[in-house]
């Protein structure tokens, strides 16, 4: 009696993932809900559990393979199971509360399994029921409304690609939703897109043909890299960017940080400059709320956010990711430091949960920790600004007819010109510099 375990739906809009690592091998005895494989999608790396217990008979894919949702992962030999049965790894209702999307597993990692919707628990009391199809454990998109203009084939395509056709604005005649609308929405259904309009932007696909005989290697553009490419291209296409640059005298800040080193050690952590920059940034955007906003292109509205989730660009072996410190205004410098260290570590390991990379209201990029005097960053859409911080250098300046050695740090503010005028950005940077140059001012900002 063998059972095929298939790759379940592992996230909204996720249709495939790269098999990173097997957590089991042929001959292993696995328990129900035990993680069997690590799969990297364009959003996160997840561990996929098996829904049933059994002995691993065969691994149906290799590490590095791209696995489609519904593709068979392993064959299990299970006693008492019906022949030829195929199951999808979703948590059984009996154990479902142990597998909410954020629940850490025994090994300290996190799994992003899909929690069963209430329907799975609807079976009347006293009648245990087997849950084996994925329809029972994933959110069902609603049927197309009567007002939706789309052919039956297009409606089916949308459903199969997990696109809610009711949310799309059709580009066809009289508002018809076309096949292309669906395909584009699928391509651009990134976590950063907030409205149907922005997600249906057309990115031209140019072919590249190298010179004949040139030594080149082709690697599929996929996973996190593909998502980065799409997000940045969309941001550049939608947002008219401009960048303002200036140099700050951060001598006091350097001193302050030095003086806090002991405190940080006591707390068992290290304090970098990033938390200070975050605090100064939050204080500044309180004065300039248009920097903590989004433009809803679909409704033609400006959305001012009354919360402060600060994203920070993190370099990882797989590429750029942007973890988010949620409600950073309500956290201390030490707390933020600890969170940055934790998120950065897990970002490098590819273990961030999708929700840990969502919901930023403004982002800081710290490319300066590597090198370069200035950069022109790209805004993390749907945010409207990104602050760049660069490396600290000793500099000689002329002050009161005297030469003086200071610690200098370059900053850039890149803003969405639709919402933020150049003069506003200059004033913003001024307010920001007051705080980053004189950290004491931050005391006055304290709530």
């Amino acid at each position: 009696m063998s059972i095929e375990v298939k790759l379940p739906e592992i996230g909204e809009g996720v249709t495939e993932g790269e098999l990173v690592r097997w957590l089991v091998k042929v001959g292993d005895l696995v328990k129900a809900d035990q993680s069997i494989v690590e799969v990297m999608t364009d959003k996160a790396t997840v561990e996929v559990p098996t829904p049933t217990a059994g002995t691993v008979k065969a691994l149906k894919a290799k590490e590095g393979d791209v696995i489609k949702v519904e593709q068979v992962l392993v064959e299990l030999e299970a006693a008492g199971a019906p022949a030829g049965a195929s199951v999808h790894p979703t948590p059984s209702s009996a154990k479902s509360n142990a597998h909410t999307p954020t629940a850490p597993t025994a090994n300290g990692r996190t799994t992003a399994t899909v929690a069963p919707p209430p329907s799975a628990n609807l079976a009347s009391a006293g009648l245990s029921s087997v849950n084996t199809t994925r329809q029972e454990t994933k959110t069902l998109l609603p049927p197309a409304d009567l007002h939706v203009l789309a052919t039956p084939a297009t409606r089916r395509l949308a459903r199969e690609m997990n696109v809610d056709i009711n949310q799309l604005k059709g580009s066809g005649l009289a508002g018809r939703v076309t096949r292309e609308d669906i395909l584009q929405n699928q391509t651009h259904a990134a976590p950063t897109t907030t409205s149907a309009t922005t997600s249906s932007i057309n990115i031209p696909r140019q072919a590249y043909q190298g010179p004949v005989g040139a030594v080149e290697e082709r690697i599929p553009l996929r996973g996190i890299r593909k998502k980065i490419a799409e997000n940045l291209q969309m941001a550049k296409q939608i947002i008219p960017h401009f960048t303002l640059m200036d140099e700050a005298n951060v001598s006091q800040l350097v001193q302050l940080r030095e003086s806090l080193k002991g405190l940080a050690e006591k707390e068992g952590t290290k304090i970098t400059y990033l938390p200070f920059v975050m605090k100064a940034l939050i204080a500044s955007i309180r004065h300039f709320p248009q920097f903590n906003a989004s433009i809803d292109d679909a409704s033609q509205e400006i959305v001012y956010k009354k919360y402060f989730n600060i994203g920070f660009a993190a370099d990882t072996p797989n590429g750029l990711v942007v973890p988010v410190i949620k409600n950073a205004d309500q956290k201390t410098i030490v707390e933020i430091s600890k969170e940055i260290i934790d998120l950065s570590k897990r970002a490098r390991e590819g273990k961030l949960k999708p929700e840990e990379m969502k919901g930023a209201t403004i982002t800081i990029t710290n490319i300066g920790s590597v090198g370069g005097t200035y950069a022109t960053p790209i805004i993390n859409h749907p945010e409207v600004a990104i602050l760049g911080m660069y490396k600290i250098q000793d500099k000689v300046i002329l002050e009161n007819d005297d030469f003086k050695v200071i610690k200098a740090m370059n900053f850039t503010i890149t803003a969405d010109h639709r919402l933020i005028d150049g003069a506003v950005a200059a004033n913003f940077l001024k307010v920001f510099f007051q705080r980053i140059e004189q950290p004491g001012v931050l005391m006055a900002d304290m709530i």
């Binding site: 519904e70 019906p82 049965a85 999808h88 329907s119 799975a120 609807l122 079976a123 009347s124 009391a125 006293g126 009648l127 029921s129 087997v130 849950n131 084996t132 199809t133 994925r134 329809q135 029972e136 069902l140 998109l141 609603p142 049927p143 197309a144 009567l146 007002h147 203009l149 789309a150 052919t151 039956p152 409606r155 089916r156 459903r159 199969e160 997990n162 005649l173 009289a174 508002g175 018809r176």
Partner: protein, 485 residues
């Protein structure tokens, strides 16, 4: 006693069940289907198919009697109706269709289990037949046990004198006088053919119009006129209160807007609706949620509250139509295979085989307005202006199209007239494809066919049909090839 295991068991072999079973088998499931009566269910055996056979036959007779002389055929003497022979011809049609279903099921390796099904638990089902009781189990069940005629108190079916549709279809002699309680589509179809075969028919309808609320009012008017012409008496706002046997036959007491009258007949047909068979097979006892009208509650995938049990067809709600059940059957089988499907048809076309036929797809004018479409374009094209209809001597009726005024998207099509049942599929496709009036008007329809009426009705709705006189073209309608949004 060991029970036989299946991956999928379908209960009921009507147009929902047998279609679901075939698709399930096509998708590789080890499938069984349970049927207590004949394969094909009500539709094939005592519903759609036999009634259509009788309707075709009676219409043939009617035309021989009424149209043939005008065309130049001199038929000497009355045409004799051999009802027993007609009945056996009808039965041969049914046998052919039911046999076909059996062959299709066998050809797809579906195990056919004959007998009365009853759930033991939500995973085991017993089937009782002459050969005894056997138990079967399955991972998934598809319930497709259909519906049965509603009985009203005091009018218990004996299928000899007080008939349901089933009994009416089995009559081996034409009743002299027939009273039909219920002027819905089933009552009118049977009334029409029995009247053509020689019965004196009175239809007693509770509502103020026939086919109330189901079809376009103008369409039902055309049918009402024809019923009268064919000798059928229609009593509206009328209620049958009691019946008793007398030496003259059955005396039916009718209350027509407060005035009581008595009708005498030799057969009484009761067609006041159908009720879902959710009170059978232990469905309630295993814990299925059933609503107050008896329909099994399902989600948009036709999944019940017990996740491995699905239900389709008449069991799950209106409209109780065979083609809706079949569509659901295919859909559920595919869902079992893991395919992402929901029921999202824009229209379930409906057909009434009266004389002339009525067919509709999409919304009526009232429904369109209720859905918020304030500005509508509505127009009709009469069959009297269609060459093929004239040459067939079937010119009563029209094609009516309802579209949005701003985008010209077709919202509803209502046809009353010859072959309305065959014409409506084009309208259903148009609505599913979100076609505009121009799409219908610019599609070349072959001449001379009844189908041209659809093209002309679209043109008429745009204001410029060729074969009827319309007001001069206005500026707004001069260009229709795509200037509208």
């Amino acid at each position: 006693m060991s029970s036989q295991n299946f991956e999928v068991i379908v209960v009921g072999s009507g147009p929902g069940g047998y279609v679901a079973a075939i698709r399930a088998a096509q998708l590789g499931f080890k499938t069984a289907i349970i049927e207590r009566e004949a394969l094909g269910g009500v539709c094939l055996n005592v519903g759609c198919i036999p009634s259509k056979a009788m309707i075709s036959a009676s219409h043939f007779l009617h035309r021989a009697q009424h149209d043939a002389p005008e065309m130049g055929f001199e038929i000497s003497g009355p045409i004799k109706v051999n009802m027993k022979k007609l009945l056996s011809w009808k039965d041969s049609v049914v046998a052919k269709m039911s046999g076909g279903v059996g062959q299709l099921l066998k050809g797809n390796n579906v195990t056919i289990i004959k007998g009365e099904a009853r759930f033991k638990t939500d995973k085991e089902i017993t089937v009782t037949s002459k050969e005894g009781t056997k138990t079967f189990s399955a991972q998934k069940f598809i319930l497709a046990t259909g519906s049965r005629p509603v009985e009203i108190p005091g009018f218990t079916f004996d299928e000899k004198n007080i008939l349901s549709s089933t009994g009416a279809l089995a009559l081996d002699a034409v009743p002299k006088k027939l009273v039909v309680i219920g002027g819905g589509y089933i009552g009118l179809e049977i009334s029409s053919y029995l009247a053509k075969l020689g019965a004196e028919v009175t239809v007693v309808e509770f509502n103020s119009s026939l086919l109330a609320g189901v079809v376009d009012a103008e369409c039902s008017q055309v049918v009402s006129r024809r019923l009268k012409k064919n000798g059928i008496t229609v009593l509206l706002n009328a209620k049958a209160t009691q019946q008793k046997r007398t030496s003259n036959g059955i005396e039916v007491t009718i209350d027509v807007e407060g005035k009581v009258q008595t009708l005498t007949c030799d057969k009484l047909l009761v067609t006041v609706g159908r009720r879902p068979n959710s009170d059978q097979a232990n469905l309630k006892e295993i814990g299925l949620n059933i609503d107050e009208r008896g329909f099994i509650k399902t989600n948009s995938q036709r999944q019940t509250n017990i996740p491995h049990i699905y239900a389709i067809g008449d069991l799950v709600g209106q409209p109780m139509l065979a083609h809706k059940a079949s569509h659901e059957g295919v859909m559920v089988a595919e869902i079992l295979k893991g395919m992402n499907r929901v029921f999202d048809a824009k229209t379930i076309p409906a057909v009434v085989f009266t004389d002339p036929e009525i067919a509709s797809a999409g919304m009526t004018e009232e429904e369109a307005q209720a859905k918020g479409h304030k500005n509508l374009l509505i127009s009709k094209f009469p069959f009297g202006a269609n060459g093929r209809a004239v040459s067939m001597m079937e010119t009563e009726g029209f094609v009516k199209i309802i579209a949005t005024a701003d985008t010209h998207i077709v919202l509803g099509v209502h046809i009353v007239g010859p072959e309305a049942s065959n014409l409506i599929s084009e309208a259903a496709l148009a609505i599913e494809m979100a076609a505009r009036l121009e799409d219908l008007a610019l599609t070349i329809h072959p001449h001379p066919t009844l189908g041209e009426t659809m093209m002309e009705a679209a043109e008429a709705t745009l204001g410029h049909a060729i074969h009827i006189i319309q007001k001069p073209l206005t500026k707004n309608t001069k260009s229709t090839g795509g200037v509208h949004p």
